[in-house]
Every structure is written in C-alpha cells, then in structure tokens.
C-alpha cells in the first residue's frame, strides 16, 4: 500500500466508477474537494469527461493548476490522467482555446477517419492496444489487452518516446503516454474489466 490516491473533485468528473475499481484493486482513493487538501497526497488521478476548455476552466477556477503542477513536476508524485484527464496534461487542444497543463509535450487533435472508411466518431467501444515499451502500468507481454474507449479527440505526442501504447482508429494514436512520473490513458481503465483492473492495480502499487 503506497498511499492514498487523491482525485481532484472537478465538476466535469464522474468518479464513482474510478473509486470502485481502485477499491476493488485494494487501493484507497478519495475525492478531494479543494486544492488546499491536495498537497499531502502521494498520488493523484485526474479523471474527467467532457470538453477540453470546460476541463481546463474547472482546474483553473477551482485553483487546482498550481498545486497539481507542484505535485507532478516538483515533487514528482505518480499522476495518472484518464480520458480528458490525459488530454488536459498536454499543451493544447484543437477542441478548445485554453492552453493545457503542458506537462507532456503533446497536442490534442480531432479524430477524423477517412470518409468512406465506415469509422465513426466518437471512437466508442473496445479496442486493443499495442504496448511499445516496458513500463510499470501496462504489461507488454500480457497477450491481447483490450480497453473501453470513448473520445472524439486524441493525443499526438511530439516525442515518440513518450508514447507507451497505441490504438488504432483510422490511424494509430497514443492510447497511453508516460513521461517520468506522469501517466495518461485515453481509455477508461475503470470500465475495462480485468485489463483495467490490472492497470489500476499497478498504479496503486507504484
């Protein structure tokens, strides 16, 4: 057991499933309602759904950005972004005008599969991921791993080395990234059966 996980209680979040899955993994996660309480935690999950600007505005107006930046970049505690949470860690998004947190050198772009490909947006449902390098979250030799995705925008990393795993929807995109202590997943591990449970258990045990 390596510390309680803090989840910033931003209004664009839907945390019940994340809390349940962490509990199932033997971990302990709490929704933290104010940034003042955040500094004492050793681990953070940024979970959220919805539009990029709404997410960034929620972080800014709630006063979260500085304390999160301190935890992620100075104190280097493990931070995991889920779905919109991953996108908020990037520099910018085509979906909105606000700058992102900028922790990872990446930008968020609209999925636009070729017309006539039959592929729809949002990319919604189960997809397999290809793990590109050994890492503490996703086991590279675990056979096929599938996860539940729901998103219309994807993360494009500027440094190839940051991409942990790719998935395909028209083209390959970053399904997971990692830079130092910072992790992001585009899919929903909390809704991905044993595959997501394994990933969250790995995060709990980091």
């Amino acid at each position: 057991m390596n510390g309680t996980i803090a989840i910033p209680g931003i209004p664009c979040g839907n945390f019940a499933s994340v809390l349940r899955m962490i509990q199932k993994c033997g971990g302990d996660a709490r929704i933290v309602s104010s940034p003042d309480g955040l500094a004492r935690y050793q681990k953070v999950i940024i979970a959220g759904v919805g539009a990029f600007d709404y997410g960034m505005a929620s972080l800014r107006h709630g006063g979260w950005t500085d304390v999160l930046g301190d935890l992620a970049l100075q104190r280097k505690v493990p931070v995991l972004g889920i779905c919109l949470g991953m996108q908020l860690m990037c520099s910018a998004s085509e979906e909105g005008g606000l700058p992102g947190l900028g922790w990872v050198d990446a930008e968020v772009r609209r999925l636009s599969p070729e017309p006539g490909s039959g592929l729809k947006v949002p990319h919604m449902g189960w997809n397999t991921v290809r793990v590109l390098r050994p890492n503490p979250l996703l086991d590279a030799d675990d056979g096929e791993q599938r996860f539940y995705f729901v998103h219309s925008y994807y993360v494009a990393c500027r440094r190839d080395g940051d991409v942990l795993a790719t998935a395909q929807h028209g083209k390959d995109f970053a399904a997971a990234f990692n830079r130092d202590n910072i992790y992001g997943v585009q899919f929903h591990p909390e809704k991905s059966h044993r595959f997501g449970m394994a990933l969250l258990r790995n995060f709990v045990n980091l």
Partner: protein
C-alpha cells in the same frame, strides 16, 4: 481495431428482471443484481438496463437499485427509463452510470438531449427509437409509454436526435422484440448508412449469425435480451454470453 460491441439489454419491471415479447407478456427472468453480477463475470462489452414502467407510470429512476447495478459493473452501464431532467441524469452519472438512454422525453422534446450532451458530452446520451410496422408493413416510430405510433418519420426523428447531440442511437424493432427470429436487417442497414454516430441494433437477435448479420449491415453494436437470458426451445431462463474468442472469430471477417 475497434470491436463491435455485443450488449445484453435487461428490462426492469417493479425491481425484477423481465423479458417481453413484442413489448407484451413480460416474463419474470430473475433478480437483476444476480444477473448483472453474472454478466460482469462473463466480461460483457457493455450493459444496458431499461426500466420499462418508469415513463408509463411517470416515475423517476430507482436510484438505490441503479447504484447497486453500477457497483457490479466493471464495464460501461447504460440506463434508460423515466429520465425527464438534467438533474436526474446528473444523479445517475454520479452513481456510476456512463450513459443515459432517452426515449419518451426525446419524443416530446429534444431539448433534454441537448442539455445533457452540453453538460456531460454526447457520449453520455443515447436515444432509443422503437420502430413498429403498421398493417401495410411501413416502419413507424412508436411511443412505448403511450402505446401509440407517432406520425413523424423515424429517420427524421433520429437525424434530429443526432443534431440535438445524441452520441449514439438505439434502433429497436418492436415486432421482433423477444421473438429471437432474426433482426430487421433492412432497417439496420438504412439507419446505419443515414446516421453519422454509432448505431446499436436491438430486437430479434436469436443467434450468433444474427449478430454477424447486423454488424455486416452497419451496426456498431448489437444489443439483445432474450438471446442472453433464455435457453433452448422452452425458453428456460439461463444467463449466457458468448466467449470472447467466439465473438472474435464471428466478427473478424465482417
């Protein structure tokens, strides 16, 4: 590659699970929590639960029960039945439901679809269109809570739903509900081609071949009730779900 989803659709009636036939004759098939637990163990792609009396009786969703459902689901859960306001949807999301499915409210007024989509994203709001053939075999939109067909063409209605913000659509064939006699492939093909968002086909699925046919016709997902709760010619209650490898083999060629 994105996989086609196969979704058990469970009908809730007075707190118990039932399965209807052509929207009538609800047959009790068991305790919902137990069924959901089994489906979770079988690693289903997604689960849909619809309270078939809530709108008819003007009731709100049964939040306490739905919270228990969400607690058993380590996959996405969609709930439909009796949702009339953003606040109700918000309450459902807070319990751990990923998607809400609207029907009665959407037939009356699409504003609720837009409000939920704006606040929680399009992926969180589905609209289900029940479609029933009239005596001339023409497909009509059907308002189940009132037991009446609606004059608006179903395609126009679904296109309006997408414009209003629905992230997915369910097309349900009333005449095939519970029959396990095969899905309305023509309807699925037309709807999937006309609509830019993922389509969930429902109604009539009785075999793996039916699932394959619906996917070949363009459905992003196939939902079924009877197929997953009944077994054998006498329709004994048995909860089943195809193994992952079976579905992989079935759908890999389509």
């Amino acid at each position: 590659m994105l996989k086609h989803r196969v979704i058990p659709c469970l009908l809730l009636r007075n707190g118990g699970l039932v399965k209807t036939c052509k929207f009538g004759n609800p047959k009790y098939v068991g305790d919902p929590i137990n069924a959901i637990r089994i489906f979770n163990e079988k690693e289903v792609d997604e689960l849909m639960v619809v309270d078939i009396l809530a709108s008819k009786e003007g009731r709100e969703p049964n939040y306490a029960l739905i919270e228990q459902f969400a607690g058993e689901c380590f996959m996405p859960l969609c709930y439909g039945g009796g949702i009339r306001s953003v606040e109700q949807a918000q309450q459902l999301f807070a319990l751990g439901v990923e998607k809400v499915c609207l029907q009665t409210a959407a037939l009356e007024e699409l504003a609720l679809v837009t409000q939920i989509a704006e606040r929680f994203g399009s992926q969180a709001v589905l609209v289900c269109a029940d479609i029933k053939k009239d005596w001339l075999g023409r497909r009509q939109l059907y308002a189940a809570a009132r037991g009446k067909t609606v004059s608006r063409p179903w395609r126009t209605f679904l296109e309006e739903c997408v414009a209003a913000g629905a992230g997915e659509l369910v097309v349900n064939s009333v005449d095939r509900d519970g029959t396990m006699a095969g899905m309305d492939i023509e309807l699925i093909r037309e709807a999937a081609a006309a609509l830019p968002v993922p389509l969930i086909a429902l109604g009539g699925c009785g075999s793996l071949a039916d699932i394959k046919a619906a996917v070949a016709a363009g459905a992003s997902a196939v939902a079924a009730g009877a197929f997953f709760v009944f077994h054998g010619p006498h329709r004994a209650v048995l909860i089943t779900y195809p193994r992952y490898q079976e579905l992989e083999t079935l759908l890999s060629a389509t």
